[in-house]
């Protein structure tokens, strides 16, 4: 395996230890109220007693955003390996033309979504 990956892995472990360490140190050092006010454990709702749970159904517009995201993220997955090789003289003009066609089709779809109002936050 490429040794730089091992260094990255060591750093990932280090940042995890650092972050958990902050919480662990705070757990040891923090002050604790002897007789905590029961209101401390209430959910905050501007001073009123909270009504109901917040775990409810929510607006489907978030679903549209998630769908659009998946669409365009997959498209960048196609663009990324192309971006690496397009400067290579061996790939010639074909790589450019192909990507123009691909992005053109994509922009057509984008225009359709725009006209259908899928990009509007309603």
């Amino acid at each position: 395996m490429d040794p730089t990956w091992l260094a990255a892995l060591a750093f990932v472990a280090l940042s995890a230890v650092f972050t958990v360490g902050f919480l662990a140190a705070a757990a040891v050092l923090r002050a604790r109220a002897r007789k905590p006010d029961p209101a401390v454990e209430l959910t905050y709702e501007c001073g009123e007693a909270p009504t109901g749970s917040a775990w409810v159904r929510f607006h489907p517009r978030y679903y549209v955003v998630a769908l659009l995201f998946v669409l365009f993220d997959v498209e960048t997955v196609f663009i990324l390996p192309w971006a690496l090789n397009v400067g290579d003289p061996r790939s010639g003009g074909t790589a450019i033309v192909e990507m123009f066609v691909f992005v053109g089709i994509l922009l057509l779809g984008w225009g359709y979504a725009l006209r259908k109002g899928a990009l509007r936050w309603q």
């Binding site: 060591a10 280090l14 923090r30 993220d73 663009i79 690496l84 790589a95």
Partner: protein
């Protein structure tokens, strides 16, 4: 063991250089918060922190010590495992991206051959803890903030990826070290080629502001409508981790922008060095703070419309323009 042997062992390299980088960057973050408060004071025509130490310079240290001592009782209604895990993931995900930042003079924890992708995929993980925090809090403000934040984070992911593809096309490599090397001698991608590079830099900068939830894109914690957004129920060190994560994200994004668009450690005729990279990172971080006190917050619908109708197609056009440039020269 000699210094060279330490740097040859990848594990020790990750821990030694990584520990150094982490220490310096966390110091920068602490003083970025001091600078932000001092600068806010200047904009508001008041002194800002000025009691602890000269010009309030010891304020960040006092704040950290205070946060360690804060009582931290969880509200009874929260989903405990998710509630505790969210701030940890938030900070850790942002920190890990530091691994691939080339600081100059060979100081880099791991110059991965897919460095750009590593940094972006790791920082984009932050969308998950944001949503976790919003849901686990079982608080209506937190839920609204978490939902908006998750939608914003994934939306601005796309222009962020597209904008960073421009230096990848121009340099022909995902390795941040190669991208910096391709800009040697003052041929920074933000300046040359004229056009795509500069606009890609602007796109990256604005999308990073949105990813880090900074004004004008700080809808997730718009305090005038959502109390504290996802951090409403958080207190003590867990709140501090979110706060730290936000500032760290700003610094990390500034560092990546400096390397990918502003030449990294290169300063044209003035030579090459770690100090230039640090200077660029600090200036970009300071500019983010300047933007915060100069612009108004966008509305949630404007925020999404800006991303999907301007940034995404704009990013596609920039990528194609840079590919044409590479092909024709």
């Amino acid at each position: 063991m000699s210094a060279a042997m330490v740097l040859d062992n990848p594990w020790l390299r990750g821990l030694v250089i990584g520990g150094g980088v982490l220490g310096v960057v966390l110091g920068i973050v602490a003083y970025a918060i001091w600078f932000e408060r001092k600068f806010t004071g200047l904009m508001h025509q008041r002194p800002g922190p000025n009691v602890v130490g000269w010009a309030g310079l010891l304020q960040p240290i006092a704040d950290v010590l205070k946060l360690f001592q804060k009582d931290d009782r969880l509200p009874a209604a929260v989903d405990r495992p998710l509630f505790v895990l969210a701030p940890v993931l938030m900070l850790a995900a942002t920190m890990m991206a530091l691994a691939v930042v080339p600081w100059g003079w060979g100081v880099v924890v791991a110059d991965l051959h897919i460095g750009v992708l590593f940094a972006l995929s790791i920082t984009s993980l932050a969308a998950i803890p944001i949503w976790m925090a919003g849901w686990a809090s079982n608080n209506k403000y937190a839920l609204l903030g978490g939902m908006r934040a998750a939608a914003q984070a994934i939306s601005y992911e796309v222009p962020l990826l597209l904008s960073v593809t421009v230096p990848v096309v121009l340099a022909g490599s995902f390795r941040l070290g190669d991208i910096v090397a391709a800009q040697a001698g003052g041929r920074w991608f933000a300046l040359w080629p004229p056009g795509p590079g500069f606009f890609a830099f602007v796109l990256f900068y604005l999308s990073s502001l949105a990813e880090a939830n900074r004004i004008p894109f700080d809808i997730p914690e718009a305090e005038s409508e959502l109390v504290g957004g996802i951090t409403t129920e958080y207190g003590g060190m867990k709140f501090a981790l979110f706060y730290l994560g936000e500032y760290l994200h700003t610094v990390v994004a500034s560092a990546i922008a400096s390397a990918a668009f502003l030449g990294g450690s290169d300063m044209g005729p003035l030579g090459d060095g770690l100090h230039w990279m640090l200077l660029k990172t600090l200036l970009l971080t300071a500019s983010v703070i300047f933007v915060r006190w100069s612009w108004l917050r966008l509305r949630a619908d404007q925020l999404m419309a800006l991303c999907w109708t301007v940034f995404v197609p704009g990013g596609l056009v920039l990528v194609m323009a840079s590919a044409l440039w590479v092909h024709l020269t």
